[in-house]
């Protein structure tokens, strides 16, 4: 092995297969091992904090590996245990001890899924037969499909190169904010990963992946300005544009301008790509909702859904270069693209499709989840920019509820292509369906944003949103609902403890 090369995927697979065999030897009826190893570095630039005229720089390098083991015991119960670093049964007595301990923990977990207090035997809600849980031997992804997950340049350039990218982002942000806000921190993280999966049905697969995350944190320096965090993530460095990220952060941080009232009750609303991304991210919880009626007809008596309009979103787990992509999912099934919103209605398909099992780390068993959300244009989408008057929104926040609220953070009234006054602070409240089914046009090219998860979005035009009003200026938003009381918030970002 070359010193600078990541762990050979074949060596990772060998480790996973060793553990599968050990689990079977120790009594497991089925087993699956997910192996993940990575080396990463993070650079944090704090432009405002300088020593001897130089901005403060913090560097962090981490080397980490671990395995997650799922076992099926002979009574048909699944268990899960993880361990970091990965045990190496071939590495003397020490390695054997840890490997054995991991398997025994997996079996203990399986026993723990029985309700002993009530003496309830065997099966629990979590039990699924092995053929549903474990992928069969891989048929292999179609030849010629390159997911572009591994960038040889990742972790290869000197720190100075990355710092210059961060400096570029900071400069771009400050060019927009003037003195209204300043860059608190700029962060560059990158990682090289090796992922391997093997199971007792004979599946074996591995791949390499690289990741880069750029994040700019802007803090207010004048009344009305906001703290914001803007992030971009990609598997290939060339995809990340520091200037664009810096400018977007700055635009969201600027103090709101005094808005003009709506010139007409209802105007076409153009959401820029960043604003559309925020909408799609806010919709993420809905994508697990069961479908309401069918996409073509709905409930009997309802008018048929116009499939040429509305918001169409897919979960694209095999999007080249996107950080949520992989050749196989967290359980070994081939990844795919699945429509989750069709003409503005949840399809519920994600729950039934294999190929969307996510595994954020080896510490978690696979579960159906979102990988890369992607806006796709409906077939009958009209021209993107309406010719007459419109409201164009550069950034907005979407507050869910029984009636949704859209808060314009940065927007302008337009007459044709000419700006006709600011619309910052405007709010609209109404049924979500009005937004989702009102999409009349979609921009051609989806840009990749990172809003907690990768979101590919383009500009959209929404028609029929009536009732925009001038909201409370400078006020903080209503916190998002549904968070348990055992949460803390920090720095304006809500963190979930358990759920």
């Amino acid at each position: 092995m070359k010193p600078e090369a990541p762990l050979d995927p074949e060596a990772a697979l060998a480790c996973a297969e060793d553990l599968v065999r050990l689990a079977q030897t120790l009594g497991a009826a089925g087993a699956e091992v997910f192996y993940k190893a990575g080396r990463s570095r993070a650079l944090v630039l704090e432009p405002d904090l300088s020593t001897a005229g130089k901005p403060r720089v913090t560097t962090s390098h981490v080397v980490e590996e671990g395995v997650g083991l799922r076992v099926l015991d002979r009574r048909g119960r699944w268990g899960f245990a993880w361990c970091s670093p990965a045990p190496d049964p071939g590495n003397g007595r020490a390695g054997k001890v840890v490997a054995r301990s991991l398997v025994l923990e997996g079996l203990a977990s399986a026993r723990g899924s029985t309700d002993r207090l009530r003496g309830r035997p065997g099966r629990t809600s979590a039990v699924k037969p092995p053929e549903e849980e474990l992928a069969p031997p891989a048929a292999g992804r179609e030849a010629g499909i390159d997911l572009a997950l591994d960038d040889p340049g990742m972790m290869a350039s000197p720190v100075e190169d990355r710092l210059s990218r961060l400096a570029e982002a900071c400069e771009a942000a400050l060019g927009v904010t003037g003195g209204a806000a300043f860059v608190d921190k700029a962060r560059w993280s990158e990682a090289k990963l090796t992922i391997a999966l093997a199971n007792s049905r004979g599946f074996r697969g591995s791949y390499r992946k690289s990741l880069a995350l750029l994040s700019i944190s802007v803090a207010p320096a004048s009344a009305g300005a906001r703290s914001v965090l803007e992030e971009r993530a990609a598997c290939r460095i060339a995809t990340l544009d520091p200037r664009e990220c810096g400018v977007e952060a700055a635009l969201r941080a600027l103090p709101p301008r005094s808005p003009l009232p709506p010139p007409e009750p209802s105007l076409p609303v153009v959401f820029a790509a960043r604003a559309t991304a925020a909408l799609i991210a806010a919709l993420a919880p809905l994508t697990f909702a069961p479908p309401e009626g069918t996409t073509s007809g709905g409930e009997p008596g309802e008018p048929p859904v116009d499939l040429r309009r509305g918001l169409w979103v897919t979960d694209q787990a095999a999007w080249p270069g996107a950080v949520g992509s992989a050749p196989f999912d967290g359980a070994g099934f081939e990844t795919r693209e699945t429509i989750i919103l069709a003409a503005g209605r949840p399809t519920g398909l994600l729950l039934s499709e294999k190929g969307h099992r996510i595994r954020p780390s080896y510490r978690e068993p696979p579960e159906t989840g979102l990988t890369n959300l992607r806006l796709i244009p409906p077939s009958g989408a009209g021209p993107l920019m309406p010719g007459g008057r419109s409201l164009r929104i550069a950034s907005a926040r979407f507050l869910p509820g029984p009636r949704w609220t859209v808060q314009v953070l940065r927007g302008d009234w337009h007459s044709g292509d000419e700006p006709a006054g600011p619309a910052d602070g405007l709010t609209w409240t109404g049924p979500l369906e009005a937004i989702l089914t009102g999409v009349a046009a979609v921009g051609a090219e989806a840009r990749l944003f990172h809003l907690g998860l990768p979101v590919g979005a383009a500009a959209i035009v929404v028609e029929g949103l009536r009732g925009w009003v001038i909201g409370q200026r400078g006020s903080l938003a209503i916190p998002a609902p549904g968070h348990p009381p055992d949460q803390r918030v920090s720095g304006g970002r809500i963190r979930s403890k358990i759920e």
């Binding site: 991991l102 203990a108 207010p220 068993p365 609902p481 920090s490």
Partner: protein, 481 residues
């Protein structure tokens, strides 16, 4: 769930010392083993517990204007010994330490130096399963108690529990080595009714016996039953500026968020805090004292040393209304040209430490809580706060009220429909009118998130009467208990 660290201090001291390249630099070494068990129940059945263990080490060096940090998984002596060269960016160092087994390069069979790797492996933090049987029975008992009281209205009852154990050792280039073993167990339970409204309750303690004593299943169920009952009796919340009485205990989250974060050194010393410019000045009434104290026994944020090995200490942040203290780790103490306050926390060896709160509370005052409520002709009583947003730069905040009641003619009269309270941290401090003599800490289920790192923390507060808050009814139904 004790997980000792079988690594001798002389070895750690030697590696920490070797991490310093030049005179005047400072370096430290952080070594950790941790285990966790996550239990859950849904639909009357247990889910398979998730059991796990991790170990690793990290070194950090302070140079002029920069901090460098390297971390590797595993506790193999050769991995730990490689940290000083990794800190100096040795070209072959960043990958070859993929660690295998309990530490060493995969398949290398490196001879142990200083510590026996087999001994380390024999004391591996597995099994985390040791405590899951009794914990599972406790969860099932809560579920049964909740079902008995709320079975008719509950569509779904969900329960979760986390059992975490951690052993740490910190060695510094100045020759100090300190270590500690920490455990914490917490649970939460949530009931969802037919209308999709959920109520929740939870708690935490240093061990299962203590947890069971603090939160007997039937008391948890009774709390949830009361919350469900409140839902039926809710009236609309008032709108606009209101007199607020913050109930004891969980209301302390307001002080934690609106005031505590602004006094953490990394924010305060970089001008990201609305409060720091007022250091030494009066920011609240003369009977207001706010303290952060990790040395209090048995609370979520309690510990004997911080994650830089500095002894924990009681830190007074506001003394008799005057802003007097900040929370500092080594990095921020260097900036402030003073000593750390023992407030450094890190989620794991993979993370860099930063100043954090531990157990933050308002010292008791002199008023009986009933007298405080009786002094309010019309206002709201907040028994529990939910999610919210805080901007430490301006100190503006907004919080959902998870459980609130109308006060009319000096009496708590009815539970309120969902509303949000908004305000400003500084104005809240100045607006404290009465401080009760009933200091209570939260239930111990809470955590604090900061820059992607989780950390256990507790908040405490006696009943407070506060002016300068604005209530705004919302249509959103939030969970709360």
């Amino acid at each position: 769930m004790s997980i000792p660290l079988p690594i001798d201090h002389a070895f750690l001291r030697r590696v920490a010392g070797a991490s310093v390249a030049r005179p005047g630099e400072y370096a430290d070494l952080f070594v950790e083993r941790a285990s966790e068990a996550l239990l859950s129940r849904a639909g009357g059945s247990p889910e398979p517990p998730r059991l796990g263990a991790a170990e690793g080490a990290a070194a950090r060096v302070f140079e002029a204007g920069a901090v460098r940090h390297v971390a590797v998984g595993g506790l193999h002596p050769s991995s730990i010994e490689s940290l000083p060269s990794r800190l100096r960016g040795a070209p072959d160092s960043m990958w070859r330490g993929n660690t295998g087994g309990s530490g060493g390069p995969r398949g290398s069979g490196d001879p142990a130096r200083g510590v026996d790797p087999v001994r380390i492996a024999d004391q591996h933090p597995m099994p985390a399963s040791r405590s899951i049987d009794a914990a599972g029975r406790y969860l099932a008992a809560i579920e049964a108690a909740v079902g008995a009281r709320l079975g008719a209205v509950a569509v779904r009852i969900g329960l979760k529990m986390e059992i975490r154990a951690q052993s740490v050792a910190v060695a510094t280039s100045e020759g100090e080595v300190r270590g500690e073993e920490r455990t914490w167990i917490s649970f939460s339970t949530r009931v969802i009714d037919e209308a999709g409204v959920s109520v929740a309750a939870g708690g935490g303690a240093v061990g299962l016996e203590r947890l069971r004593a603090l939160h007997p299943p039937d008391e948890v169920a009774a709390l949830l039953e009361q919350a469900v009952q409140d839902l039926k009796e809710e009236i609309p919340a008032p709108s606009g500026e209101v007199s607020v009485v913050l109930g004891p205990g969980a209301g302390g989250i307001l002080i934690h968020e609106a005031c505590g974060h602004a006094l953490e050194g990394d924010r305060a010393l970089r001008g990201r805090s609305a409060l720091v410019e007022l250091l030494g000045e009066k920011v609240g009434p003369g009977d207001l004292t706010v303290i952060d104290d990790p040395t209090l026994a048995g609370l979520a944020g309690s510990r004997a040393i911080d994650d830089e090995g500095w002894p924990s200490a009681r830190n007074v942040l506001i003394d008799s209304g005057r802003l007097v203290g900040l929370l500092l780790d080594r990095t921020t103490a260097l900036l402030a040209a003073t000593t750390p306050t023992g407030s450094a926390r890190r989620e794991s060896y993979r993370h860099l430490p930063m100043p954090r709160m531990s157990n933050t509370f308002v010292l008791e005052g002199r008023y009986p809580p009933e007298e405080i409520v009786a002094s309010v002709p019309r206002g709201v009583y907040i028994a529990e706060l939910g999610a919210g947003e805080v901007d430490t730069v301006s100190a503006d905040f907004s919080f959902q009220v998870a459980r609130g009641y109308l006060i009319a003619s000096g009496r708590r009269v009815a539970p309120l429909r969902p509303f949000v309270v908004r305000g400003n941290g500084l104005r809240v401090l100045r607006g404290i009118k009465m401080i009760g003599r009933d200091l209570r800490f939260d239930s111990g289920a809470g955590e604090c998130g900061k820059e992607g790192q989780r950390s256990r923390a507790s908040v405490g507060q006696p009943t407070l009467k506060v002016a300068g808050l604005t209530a705004q009814p919302v249509r959103l139904r939030v969970s709360g208990s």
